[in-house]
Symmetry: C2
Subunit: 323 residues, 2 copies
Amino acid sequence: MSEYYIGVDLGGTKIYTALADEKGKIISGNKMATEADKGEEVIINNILASIESVIEDSGVAKKNVEKIGIGSPGPLSVRKGIIYETANMSWEKVTIVEIMEEKTALSVKLENDANAAALGEKWFGAGKDIDDLIYITVSTGIGGGIVINKRAYHGFDGAAGEVGHMIVEPDGPQCGCGNYGCLESLASGTAIAREGKKLVKSEQVETMIREMSSNDPEQVDALLIAEAAQKGDKIAQDLYSKAGWYLGIGLANLINLFNPEMIVLGGGIMKDKELLDDSLEKSLEDRALPSSLKQVNICKVKLGDEAGVKGAIAVAMEEKLLS
Amino acid sequence: MSEYYIGVDLGGTKIYTALADEKGKIISGNKMATEADKGEEVIINNILASIESVIEDSGVAKKNVEKIGIGSPGPLSVRKGIIYETANMSWEKVTIVEIMEEKTALSVKLENDANAAALGEKWFGAGKDIDDLIYITVSTGIGGGIVINKRAYHGFDGAAGEVGHMIVEPDGPQCGCGNYGCLESLASGTAIAREGKKLVKSEQVETMIREMSSNDPEQVDALLIAEAAQKGDKIAQDLYSKAGWYLGIGLANLINLFNPEMIVLGGGIMKDKELLDDSLEKSLEDRALPSSLKQVNICKVKLGDEAGVKGAIAVAMEEKLLS
């Protein structure tokens, strides 16, 4: 008898749910608005609706669904199955595993979104034949998931992998977390945008960023700066360069600590990775232990926009995949 | 029938070997000069002599010795059983496991010294009931061993755990490894001594370090500076303070990345840990993610001078201990 698995990629804007066969092949998928501002009951009902939808569309009998995996932003406890809170979502301390198991009568497993994406890349993406890898997502923030011996490495209570909050410049800018000089405060989309906004405010530097944002700092974001850089604006290129240099320091630290076989880079900023490449490579060459640098394969995600949902499927399938 | 295990703590100055019963209790021990400058043959013969000596002294029949564990400075390959080179020892690319297995007719396992010490603390020291811990030794350099799921974490080729070469100040002083701003270049005994030497050379700062070293920078080391600090010299205290602050940044990064249950601190500088404590605690409080900081137990090694040999015994006993 065939077994099926459901993955739920729970985001602040949308819920992406898919049903897969025992090889991880997606049979049916559904995207639905999270309606994150409407509170716990609405969000839960939307998740349930998306699950029902993928079961129905697949033609698979519900009793043949083995498990549901949920990838969610944290902080959360994998062990307790609780989401404590989520930026941009109006809920708090949701016992999601218990609730979903009761409502679906299926077995449910929770994982944080970065670990889920790391597992997705391990089982279905860039790291198929690899036991240990580090996944890093560079977008608004910088997150990470560490896979050791084919499993997500959680640490004591599931908080491991906070790559973005590694301090690489103790006197650096303040980070969203309150700390100073975290990698996220120097190499994320938010960090690039912050520096761009400053330039527009300062009114002293000549850059396309100014015209492209109609001289309004609020309109400056990492994407706009990337466009300016791609059009040849030196100032915009420098902003990406600086972010890439710090990203290289962060990767060098991970390489020196983990001697990893693979680092997989994802997230919005990585779509413009070529803007970072030169400076990133330079700081890697300068800063990583040469023997460990030679051994690591640094590559982009393979799953792209499906990283989240395929990761959630990997979470659901984990025991099966490990057996 | 009882099983016995031998641990060899191979250092640049001395070889410390011990034979233990299947509970890890040391029955006989032997310390012998390494004679590191006399080359491969002499060093190997000294190791063999120390092994023969502990077997003889124990009264245990050689056939009841299950395995020999060797903890050695690297770089080395655990997988291949080869020591590539060792600072202060005149040998290179020694196939130590093969040689020792042939000469002793016993099974031999190699591990780098920091991982061995980490395993020693895990099985016989501070981390007895703990599955995951990070061991850090702060002395001339800064080294580390990472234990995950009760095993030494090696990474792809045994180079994981290079805690001392995590970059915490990209524009910091040059490290022995050639890189700039590694933790080792800011918080090791060598780093503390370097700053003390500078002060004596500068001839502008009033400090006891000057008299205690007879105004000779070459006589300044971390121990002398610790003595000055303990006598109340503010300048010497500041040097330890600064090192402690950077050590806190390093630990914060490990806490944010690993969410560890325990960090065990060892090495010569940790004998004067009270000189570091205030600044270390301050940077930890400021820099580590609060929830993960709350969960980690930061403590000193329990095994002291026996960390190395007990670690080597743990390496020999690993399969038994895991079973």
